[in-house]
Amino acid sequence: MRALDIEGLDVDLGGRPVLRDIRLHLDRGELVGLLGPNGAGKTTLLRAILSLARTRGGTVTVEGKPSRPGRSDIGYVPQRHEFTWDFPISVEQAVMSGRTGRIGLLRRPGVTDWRAVGDALDRVQLTGLRRRPVGELSGGQRQRILVARALALGPRILLLDEPFTGLDMPTQELLGDLFTSLAREDRAVLMTTHDLVAAVDSCTRLVLLNGRIIADGQPADLQDAELWTTTFGVSVTSPLLKLVRAT
């Protein structure tokens, strides 16, 4: 059974077509990079997978069942600016907030919940900062909190929206390694990014998106310059092509 199966997905926003005829499959163990220019529909695709965006047509199947918020086995890492970082809350409480839906109404976190949070913090190497207020962390540490919050649900599919944006190279490398090992632990990881070099480097597969899927394959198979110029709307002399080693 596939971890994620998207067939013929169409999404409109504000009466305009944003995604058309998206067909995408993900298996466990894969780290897939979703690339495309601003406005290509990357975030919209992730939201459609979570069934947060209303779809016009097509199906999203997660582990063999239609996707439903709170029910599907998906961990979501939204863009960093979605989170209220000046909230007076500790790192471990922020990670615990990811389990709010699972814990359920009128219940308090129990032993299992705290164990899951502890494991997630270990996984992203933030255990030493667990009691620190979230506002007093660097960008890289914040990104790791969001990853831990998603991992606290023990999901088999992980969706990451621009996890590298605004981070320096060492931090990007650290996170890139983390995502690679998360995928190796039998998870399916789908990540959007504008960092083409990191994507070409660490992803097992790349999907080029601009309203529709323009290419889908291993980085080594995507060296045709035309795929990249079509996706990003750049000219053949663009330095972008050098970046991704396309000719």
Partner: protein
């Protein structure tokens, strides 16, 4: 007036309205302190403002019909809260514009309605600035009961409210009903405002919601502590404010708010970690270095030989 005299007055059966006013002021500031924490943290002071305005026509109608002011205010306030919740789901229109349009209008409607009642000028002043006399016994139970319901709901839904405050998108992905949680929170804010109107008055009620919670936020980085500190600051401000207002014959709402404001200023200047003056006094050499994920592994600096 000394504290003892104030206590004697509180126990004086001829001044029965005084302990009643104190009880209502303290109860409503405790409730406002707790609910105000969400208001401050979500930066939705405008909701409190909107509701405080919108409650007015409800009170005016209740006054003209000689019904319960608290009930009239609650109905109008809740209706407004629902409208705002529905409108603000659609983030294309800024909430503050909506409020600008029909809430000041609601306030105007209240003034027109109340002007139809004979002898309205005195009552108008009471609504706007609060008063400690003329509180019916019934209101004591209404405020107490409503306060308990509000605090109970906060306790029950705290985890969900926090999740929505932290990250709406993630909350939706977790399957939480963000829309309904917004509505419940707005209604709680409304009820907190309505039960405080009597003593504080319509114009100043926003301060009771915001000031104690904002002061508490300055004093701590922990939500649990903040939600205990805010009602404490509110309750103390109400008590001290009422005492001062009784001693110096100043308007009760204004005095309570001034005390709370003084607490806020003190917190702003002297808060242990983030206070303006505390930061200045702290020696620059004592600053911590930015630390990595394992602060314990940082080698201690050895003194220069």
């Amino acid at each position: 007036m000394s504290i003892t005299e104030f206590l004697t007055d509180l126990l004086n059966p001829d001044l029965a309205f005084l302990p009643k006013a104190l009880a209502i002021a303290v109860m409503s500031s405790i409730v406002c302190g707790v609910v105000g924490c969400y208001v401050v943290l979500r930066g939705m002071a405008f909701i409190g403002d909107a509701v405080a305005h919108a409650v007015f026509p409800g009170i005016a109608v209740a006054f003209v019909l000689q019904g319960s002011l608290v009930l009239g205010g609650a109905v109008a306030g809740v209706a407004t809260a629902l409208l705002i919740a529905i409108f603000s789901q659609n983030r294309r229109v800024k909430e503050d514009s909506i409020i600008g349009v029909f809430l000041v209008g609601a306030f105007a409607l209240g003034i027109v309605i109340i002007s139809q009642a004979p002898g309205y000028a005195g009552s108008l002043q009471q609504f706007l600035f609060g008063s400690i006399t003329g509180i019916p016994d019934r209101d004591l139970y209404v405020v107490g009961g409503a306060g308990l319901v509000i605090l109970g709901l906060v306790l029950a839904l705290h985890k969900e409210f926090v999740a929505v405050c932290l990250d709406r998108e993630m909350s939706r992905a977790m399957g939480l009903s963000v829309f309904w949680l917004d509505i419940v929170l707005y209604v709680l804010v409304t009820l907190a405002v309505v039960i405080s109107l009597q003593t504080i008055g319509n114009i100043l009620v926003l301060a009771l919601l915001i000031t104690p919670a904002a002061a508490a936020r300055l004093l701590t980085d922990r939500l649990g502590v903040m939600m205990l500190l805010a009602p404490l600051i509110g309750g103390v401000s109400a008590t001290v404010g009422l005492y001062l207002s009784w001693s110096y014959d100043t308007p009760v709402g204004g005095t309570i708010v001034l005390v709370a404001t003084a607490v806020f200023l003190a917190a702003w200047l002297f808060a242990p970690r983030h206070g303006l003056l505390t930061r200045r006094w702290r020696r620059p050499g004592g600053q911590e270095l930015g630390d990595d994920a394992h602060p314990s592994s940082r080698p201690a600096l050895s003194p220069a030989k």
